[in-house]
Subunit: 456 residues, 2 copies
């Protein structure tokens, strides 16, 4: 019998960090592991090269008339740094207190194995299962799925399914399933300000020129209002007000502000007027500073006026804000505020279009929604209720999974997202782990959904 | 005959970087070099331990009735980083185009050797020279002379001279001697802001809390007005307006704004209203950001809201601003502006009291000025005029040499500062060098000053 925990241990041991060439062996190891696993299931496997890390496509195709589900996952993981903060080795999976610890256990190796296990078990009991399945597993999700859109465009013929099924989003507690119905988009860029042609002594020259760090502070300070909104003309113009059912679902989640503040370790929230923190994360765009640097950063002092100063910014976008429209608006405002005495260079980094999918039977469900998609949503609602003991919630999430908009744009396919990781899973942080109880319920739920799709 | 260039080469080869324990051998080497050199001159040498790097005291004492000059220098140098930008090895002195290149050639090994050479030559021709001389050479000037004040307090008996003579300040061009009559003080500190208890994912949590980087930008942006002044109540209250003779001396220097802007590589100055850049550097205090950091600073993006953000600040102070008074005022203003949602920690770093010494025969010369000091100033004016072909200028400088205020406070002694380094000497930067023509004129000038003091 297929043992998902043993498989997950083996999978996690492959240190598949896509961002760092040092981990090339781990990337290849993870690819081989998956290829073997899909072949065990009887799939035909292709490892398709891209400009960087290949995409694995595994197909179990029978009759053309069967429904066809595409299951997405990614085999790459975040870097394990800072290593010193791990209590167990990041690539030596360790089970403790009902959890499995290790880099990638939750993001995304465990959740992908949930669906692979579901398929394995279904095929064990029913080798003739009338369901076409395509697994598509990429290796660049943690570095922005840079080559995935190109892959989609040149491999449309391999991805002629009805919709996409995946688990790469979250749940609030181990007993509440969430069907994720939207993710924010993203616009990432870096601003570099240059003042004097080289670093200067702050005694010999201090007080006669605009210090690039001062210019940076003044520019950045201009980008928010005191009440927590982004201070760029038109920034909120394209934001679509959420439907009443969305707010109602969010209320049902029973999220607790006090607990959330405690989790974050903050004394007060800083949310635009009229929005709870839980609404703000899901329904509003942001402009966040991710890193600022310039001058001397070591121990003690260095009396320097730096030549350059820079800031990394990401904006999270919500429907109907496209990166293209927002970029023009944001860059224009920022350029117009460049302090005198410095020059500005803006470098674009990655971008993702916000994504939203409306479940069936809602006030704003599109009239032409695909039958297979609606069937999957309904099957997930039923299976989720049965396995988890209460109906799933339909919530948007604050993060970004840019490939969802790409799947929609290139293949015309929507996604059914079964949330599986918990806030305490420490994604992208030391001591990442995956909840074994959630894993078991996820497998059972996925198995029921796929069986229902197959009509068995 | 004493060859100052060969001696300087030997001296520079000792990599005496005080900031970095890796260079311990270089520190000891430089101490031994100086000890040997002073012994060659017939001095009695003591190497006096401090909490970190020892101070070298070398004495040539004859009759009690002779004048007694204390010659100050420092044997430590700045770290050579960034190494890649050096055209010749930093600790392998190289002569090229009338200059000697190497770390410490100008700051302060060359200038100290100027005075040692002057003494050596005087004693060669006149072994009975009626002048008491004490050399005091410290090893922590580049790290803020941390233990020098304590050394002064416990070694007063060794330093019973009439005044201090030194060269650790600058001249504008190789043909213009400057007698430095004032230096700015300093107050260095670091502000750290803490928001959430750990770094957060900017998608999952962005938009609900005050980002410490945003708080830092807003705090820093509040510290200057648009017209280039420091925006802290009372900041300029203790600033003493310079005397007309000071402004007149500065005008005589013929400093050129266009050339200065070109040297800095800036298109425009950013100076408080009513002050030229040359006045602002000397007569006004500053608040400069020397380093800002927080969040992700590597290549590309990381969607993080950092837990902490920090800024390093130095204020330059002018008479009568004391670090103690200014600290209270500045910290109070900064604490009152701590943005909501973050906590603030201010760490004090080093401080230096501004220093000013008025030459004789000025409108504001103190009535009780010491005769020996006045004699040295007059001798330097005469020797400077003869050797350099025009009278020296009496100028303040923007940097800080904190020990001058300490010498005044602990020993009651003022300092005669003969400037010797040029803007293009690249102090604290790669490719530091010392102008050999300036060195020769410096030796000749010092020799004449010391001879005049001795009355020979």
């Amino acid at each position: 019998m297929f043992d998902p925990i043993e498989k997950l241990k083996e999978y996690v041991r492959h240190a598949s960090v896509s961002a760092d060439p040092k981990f090339a062996d781990g990337m290849v190891g993870a690819q081989r592991f998956l290829t073997g696993l899909f072949q065990e299931l009887g799939c035909k496997v292709d490892v398709i090269p891209t400009a960087l890390h290949p995409v694995i496509v595994a197909k179990r195709i029978g009759e053309k008339s069967w429904p066809h589900v595409i299951i997405y996952g990614h085999y790459d993981v975040q870097p394990p740094d800072p290593l010193a903060l791990w209590k167990t080795p990041p690539f030596e999976p360790t089970i403790k207190g009902g959890r499995i610890y290790g880099r990638g256990t939750a993001d995304n190796k465990g959740p992908l194995l949930v669906h692979i296990t579901a398929v394995a078990r279904l095929l064990e009991s029913n080798p003739q299962l009338p369901l076409n399945i395509t697994f598509v597993v990429e290796g660049e999700e943690e570095i922005g799925s840079k080559n995935f859109k190109t892959f989609l465009k040149t491999n449309k013929h391999r991805l002629d399914g009805d919709f996409v099924f995946l688990s790469d989003t979250g749940i609030p507690t181990p007993d509440q399933l969430v069907v994720t119905v939207g993710l924010r988009g993203m616009l990432a860029f870096e601003i570099e300000l240059t003042g004097p042609q080289s670093d200067l002594h702050s005694g010999m020259h201090g007080g006669v020129l605009m210090n690039p760090l001062q210019a940076l502070a003044e520019l950045c300070a201009s980008l928010h209002t005191a009440d927590g909104r982004v201070n760029i003309p038109g920034f909120y113009k394209l934001v679509v007000e959420p439907e009443p059912w969305e707010r109602a679902q969010l209320k049902k989640a029973g999220l607790n502000k006090k607990q959330y503040a405690k989790f974050l370790g903050i004394k007060q929230f800083h949310t635009p007027l009229g929005f709870t923190p839980f609404e703000a994360i899901r329904f509003l765009p942001t402009l966040e500073f991710n890193g600022m640097s310039g001058g001397y950063q070591g121990e003690g002092t260095k009396t320097v006026i730096p030549s350059k100063a820079s800031v990394k910014i990401t904006c999270r976008l919500v429907p109907d804000q496209t990166p293209k429209k927002m970029k023009a608006m944001i860059f224009k405002a920022i350029r117009s505020r460049c302090p005198k005495g410095v020059t500005m260079k803006i470098t674009e980094q990655h971008a993702a279009t916000p994504y939203i999918v409306i479940p069936p039977d809602r006030s704003n469900t599109p009239k032409n929604q695909s039958l297979a998609l609606a069937k999957c949503f309904r099957a997930l609602d039923k299976a989720g209720t049965e396995v988890w003991g209460k109906p799933p919630l339909y919530l948007r999430e604050g993060g970004s999974v840019g490939l969802l908009a790409d799947l929609k744009e290139v293949l015309g396919l929507d996604a059914v997202m079964m949330g599986l990781f918990l806030p305490e899973d420490n994604l992208h942080a030391p001591n990442e782990s995956f909840h074994l109880g959630v894993m078991a319920k996820g497998i059972e739920t996925s198995q029921r959904v796929l069986a229902a799709l197959a009509g068995v």
